[in-house]
């Protein structure tokens, strides 16, 4: 709608790995970060040692290293997705209440989560389809959404049916209210907040083409 500034930074939509690389680049040095199960886990592949990022896993560890392979695999050392992982120097272990105190007490700088939908005001829906016969499972999603200083979402902008997942109001059951600060999608990066949605950059589409896909008013970053 608003300014015509050229914020298109890629001539194609971003793939999952490109998007993960972008998120990784945007994490400030020295941050404490929790990467949600699924697509957000890819971000860890692109964190550079000089960024000095500490990864938290909610099942009780700070200083989580890469996925374990071969001889490293240890059933007592897993991440929140129950995948065997490794331990970096400077790691620490703690019990579940202490681990969630880190999340809920606002000590994580960033968590990166997948989503079914994000609303214009940063509401997040990522835990339940709302279908009557679905078995609900929430895990630590609500604690992360509510507790981290910044909540980044990674998702495709559109469903397989071409419907925007960035919405005026979420139709799926909420995970948290007004918690999402950034949305990284294959087609654009959105900054969400109480004043609405700003588009930081677009990938493979112009701002106007993006606006046509999203059913809520967007503002281009200046």
């Amino acid at each position: 709608m608003s300014a015509q500034s050229n914020i298109q930074t890629s001539d194609k939509p971003l793939g999952r790995d490109e998007l993960a690389e972008l998120v990784a680049r945007d994490i400030a040095p020295g941050s404490f970060v929790n990467l949600g199960i699924g697509q957000p886990t890819l971000v860890s592949n692109y964190l550079r040692p000089e960024q000095n990022i500490t990864l938290h896993t909610e099942n009780g560890m700070l200083g989580m290293g890469p996925v374990a392979v071969g001889e490293q695999i240890d059933g007592d050392l897993i991440n929140a997705g129950k995948i065997p992982v490794t331990e970096l120097p400077g790691a620490s272990y703690f019990h579940h209440a202490d681990s969630f105190a880190i999340m809920r007490g606002g000590h994580l700088d960033i968590c990166v989560l997948g989503a079914f939908q994000v609303s214009a005001t940063g509401d997040l829906a990522n835990w339940h389809t709302g279908e009557p016969d679905a078995i609900p499972a929430v895990g630590g999603a609500m604690d992360l959404a509510t507790g981290a200083k910044d909540v980044f979402v990674m998702m495709t902008l559109l469903t397989r049916d071409g419907v925007s997942k960035l919405v005026e109001h979420c139709s799926y059951p909420l995970t948290g209210v007004g918690c999402v600060t950034r949305v990284y999608t294959d087609k654009a990066v959105f900054l969400t907040g109480p004043d609405g949605v700003t588009v930081r950059e677009t990938f493979g589409c112009t701002f106007e083409e993006l606006q046509a896909m999203v059913p809520l008013p967007l503002v281009a970053a200046s």
Binding site: T57, I73, I78, I135, P136, A137, G140, M142
Partner: protein
């Protein structure tokens, strides 16, 4: 009083039908498989089970659910690719589910052990998991009132115990062990090793013996490093 017990069967023998049983573990890490198997053997039924998950594959808690011993699950994440026994019971309406955000689960268990009557937390505010619960705005944030989860028995797994019941754990297998030990009236622990009193550095004890009632040594426990690697 602390007791060292020879077999897992004897350790769980006192668990009565209708008990609320906390079971440690997150996924397989820290899950006390041998104690759970013994509980299955014991025949105790109509149990309310507190665990982060609702069983995986064909072992441990999953079997307890398969055999119809669990009346109600209190957990945060029942649905997994291999949670077929829970899935079947749930879809058949044969098991009750109290779904709790994982941090609320941990904090409610901790509250029970710490004598807290209830607490307000932002987690879950404005979601369907807060429906019917008391809420209030504190410091500008919506918060939900959550209550402690007490238990009759906790079954947990630790790495080592000393002669007075002090426990240490191993890596992320620590998870719910310490808070469940404190929240249950009777805590039963399976350990890989029993060491002499004085062999654990007092600075490094994770669960003090005051929280432990029964200890049984299970040398080559399922889910340990050797089993998985």
């Amino acid at each position: 009083m602390l007791n060292f017990i020879d077999t897992v069967s004897e350790a769980v023998a006192g668990i009565r039908d209708g008990s609320t049983v906390m079971i440690g573990g997150f996924g397989n890490a820290g899950q006390p498989f041998e104690l759970i198997d013994a509980l299955l053997e014991s025949g105790a039924t109509e149990l309310t089970v507190v665990n982060n998950n609702a069983g995986q594959g064909d072992q441990g808690l999953a079997l307890l659910i398969k055999e119809g011993r669990v009346k109600k699950m209190i957990c945060s994440f029942p649905r997994q690719s291999d949670s077929w026994h829970f899935d079947a019971r749930y879809k058949a309406g044969e098991i009750e589910l109290e779904l709790v955000p994982q941090g609320n689960l941990a904090e409610r268990i901790r509250a029970a052990g710490a004598g807290i009557g209830g607490f307000f937390t932002p987690t879950g505010y404005g979601t369907m998991l807060a429906e019917g619960k008391e809420t209030r705005i504190i410091d500008g944030r919506g918060q939900v009132f959550e209550t402690p989860i007490h238990a009759d028995v906790a079954l947990i797994k630790a790495l080592k115990a000393d002669g007075v019941g002090n426990l240490v754990y191993r890596k992320t297998a620590r998870n719910f062990g310490p808070i469940m030990a404190a929240a249950a009236k009777h805590t039963i622990v399976q350990v890989s090793e029993i060491v002499p009193t004085g062999a654990l550095d007092p600075e490094n004890v994770v669960t003090p013996g005051i929280y432990v009632n029964s200890i049984v040594r299970v040398a080559d426990a399922l889910g340990s490093k050797e089993q998985v690697a």
